[in-house]
């Protein structure tokens, strides 16, 4: 590197700085593009729910949990994450179809991911976490709690059963349940 005078040093550094700023701008654009064009955005729906009244809310009463298909054919899976279990412990979803996961916590912070997919969100008491996804692979996927929530955290996991579209048969009330393995 040229370094005969201080001026030379600064000129070299300036050239490098321009290169750095250009590549950083490029990276930003790539992320922007992913966000705007492919709708790769994190879950941020800002919907609140009183954690002490989760089980009383019409949406998250026990009888409404799991997967349900509404009149418009939209598939929504509702899950309560509580120390130290998922309710229900297994959910069934169709492959190759948009699915909305809605999760709430009545107690502490939890988080979920589904192995082998991009499904990932925190579940913070006070808020409804919502994730839209399309499951591509069929089979039993692991859905663990990925945020430390107390001594039983390691035992807190559940199953997402992805079945081919043709085998996904909700009952007359629109609910679909995991058959026992």
């Amino acid at each position: 590197m040229a370094a005969r005078t201080e001026h030379e040093v600064l000129a070299t550094e300036l050239r490098w700085t321009i290169a750095v700023v250009a590549s950083v701008a490029l990276i930003s654009l790539a992320i922007l593009w992913a966000g705007l064009v492919h709708f790769i955005n994190p879950p941020s729906n800002l919907e609140t729910i009183d954690p002490t009244k989760v089980h009383l809310s019409p949406e998250f009463t026990e009888a409404n949990l799991g997967t349900r298909v509404d009149e418009g054919g939209r598939v929504t899976t509702r899950i309560v994450t509580a120390q130290f279990a998922f309710i229900p412990p297994c959910v069934v979803v169709p492959a190759d179809e948009p699915v909305t996961l809605r999760l709430v916590s009545p107690d502490v912070i939890h988080g979920v991911l589904v192995t082998g997919t991009n499904v990932n969100t925190m579940v913070v008491p006070g808020y409804v976490s919502q994730v839209h996804t399309v499951f591509q692979k069929t089979g039993d996927l692991l859905m663990p709690c990925h945020e430390y929530c107390g001594i039983g955290h390691s035992q807190m996991w559940s199953t997402v059963r992805v079945v081919p579209k043709a085998e996904f048969k909700p009952g007359p009330d629109g609910r679909a349940l995991c058959e026992k393995p």
Partner: protein
């Protein structure tokens, strides 16, 4: 021994003893997560261990190391006595008391909330109060650093503050800003809950306040490594720093851009809108700028040194560098780990890809590589460089130091490469034990065992490090040359006032923080957000 040396040694030994003990815990955790049977395993012991390991590494090693190194730098770089040594000792006492207050409840299993203590989980109040004392003690350090620089400037009007000290004060200022978030969270939310004064917590607010601290704290840890790159490595390599001005600019950029970006830790959280996540992500991309500038300036300095030593051609200067010197070797190894770690960081920060890795082993592996690898290996190199001055003796064996550094870098790669891979496979973090009977998890087993082997190498290296430092105290050869910081090829005669102080930059940080965090924090007061009920982990009745 002189008083500065005693003060520095007290801090650094506290840091390194906590570090070595935490490494023992770390290897035990590695075993627990693996298919190998582990002595003393219970889930409760695991979370005691992770809380102790995480807090010791993140809060004790770093804070005490940075304080000790800062005191040393202030006196050595400014070449005048450190002001307020008595106060510094008192602060050290408060910090040490804080560590004891925090460690005891952790080991008793009454504060297994991990080092991030996400409420509404709540442990013993002693744990949090102890941590606040450690922070308070570091604030005293910040004040002493600022006063030392002021006094020097008054005695040397118009002259540029030596780069090592300028960087140290930059870190002190960064740290004052950084600790606001976590301290407010602890004092106004967590400690009242732990004392039973309140029984609910606004979790969205507490997560937001913690995120304020969570990114910038990493740069606080990183600063000593960068100080060593700029002001120690070029001298050790037999050359000079390529550009002093670039050093100043990089340190200023760190102060500016490591603060308004903490919300990238909340990408997967439901309590913030996409808009603010996006703003902070954009600012996050900018923090890569000072690191890229540093890589260039330090590589140029090394090239300069290599050519002085007769290196020829495009890459010949690399071979000509004195790799047998621990500081040069550590810098090379740190850069090597930085390439891998930096690549991983790009993935974490991009807002969409984050979903693939959030809270998986990828993240744990990433910060072990960057923080445990790049940063801590420079802590080792700094210790080796200043211990002769601190003890007045030369090292009995540079070879043992080199072996230790190699062992750390190789161990870190062996531990973290499979760990990254497992994260991509969906292995999640903070788990005491995996069910290896599950076919998905069973497939991970052999990679977990490889990373255990890496952990064992790291523990061996940590113990050798302690041995190497102890060897100075037993050595007989008196120190040959006094320690000094590297000079630039063209040392600046004068620098603009903005590159010699922090007034302007503090004002800019305030503006950036207002933009980045103003509404995200205010929303919890404007809108009525639900609160969560405190969940105690220590069995205490409210």
């Amino acid at each position: 021994m002189k008083s500065l040396e005693r003060l520095t040694l007290a801090h650094l030994w506290t840091a390194f003893i906590a570090f070595a003990v935490a490494c023992v815990f770390g290897l035990w955790q590695m075993l627990a997560r693996s298919p190998i049977p582990t002595p003393g395993f219970t889930p409760s012991n695991y979370f005691i261990s992770v809380t102790a390991h995480g807090a010791a590494m993140a809060y004790v090693l770093t804070t005490f190391f940075i304080m000790g190194f800062g005191y040393f730098t202030a006196e050595t770089a400014l070449q005048r006595p450190l002001p307020g040594k008595r106060i510094a000792w008192a602060a050290f006492g408060v910090g040490l008391l804080g560590v004891v207050m925090a460690v005891v409840p952790v080991l008793l299993g009454r504060a297994s909330v991990l080092y991030t203590f996400y409420p509404p989980l709540t442990g013993s109040a002693w744990f949090y109060i102890g941590l606040v004392l450690v922070v308070a003690s570091s604030w005293v350090w910040c004040a002493i650093m600022i006063v030392a620089m002021r006094q020097w400037k008054r005695a040397n009007p118009g002259r540029p503050v030596p780069l090592a000290m300028y960087a140290t004060v930059a870190n002190a200022i960064l740290w004052l800003w950084t600790t606001v978030g976590v301290t407010v969270e602890l004092v106004f939310q967590v400690i009242p809950a732990a004392l039973g004064l309140v029984d609910t917590v606004d979790v969205g607010l507490s997560r937001t306040l913690f995120s304020w601290t969570l990114h910038a704290i990493v740069y606080f840890w990183l600063f000593p490594a960068y100080i060593a790159f700029y002001t120690m490595a070029p001298e050790a390599a037999g050359g000079r720093l390529y550009s002093d001005t670039m050093g100043r600019l990089s340190f200023i950029l760190f102060v500016l851009y490591s603060l308004p970006v903490g919300m990238h830790h909340l990408f997967m959280d439901p309590e913030h809108s996409t808009g603010f996540k996006f703003v902070q992500m954009t600012l996050t991309v900018l923090v890569t700028v000072p690191t890229l500038l540093t890589i260039f300036t330090i590589s140029a300095s090394m090239e300069f040194a290599g050519r002085l030593r007769g290196g020829k051609g495009l890459f010949g200067w690399i071979g000509a560098l004195p790799w047998e010197r621990p500081m040069v070797l550590a810098t090379g190894l740190a850069f090597f780990m930085l390439w891998f770690g930096g690549g991983g960081g790009l993935i974490n920060m991009s807002y969409g890809m984050n979903a693939m890795v959030h809270n998986t082993s990828w993240v744990t592996a990433h910060f072990h590589l960057i923080f445990g690898g790049t940063v801590v290996i420079m802590y080792f190199a700094i210790a080796y460089a200043i211990w002769p001055q601190l003890t007045g003796r030369e090292a009995p064996s540079l070879r043992a130091q080199r072996i230790q550094l190699w062992l750390w870098a190789i161990g870190m790669m062996v531990m973290t490469l499979p760990w990254h891979y497992l994260g991509l496979q969906g292995q999640w973090r903070r788990v005491a034990q995996f069910d290896y009977a599950n076919p998905i998890i069973a497939a991970w087993g052999s990679w977990v065992v490889v990373s255990v082997a890496g952990g064992a190498m790291l523990l061996a290296s940590a113990l050798l490090f302690i041995w190497n430092l102890a060897a100075f105290h037993r050595a007989r050869t008196p120190v040959q040359a006094p320690f000094r910081f590297a000079l630039a090829i063209h040392p600046p005669e004068r620098v603009p006032a903005s590159l010699n102080g922090f007034g302007l930059w503090n004002a800019l940080v305030a503006v950036l923080m207002l933009v980045a965090y103003g509404y995200p924090i205010a929303q919890f007061f404007i809108h009525d957000r639900p609160v969560a009920v405190v969940h105690r982990v220590d069995g205490a009745q409210p």
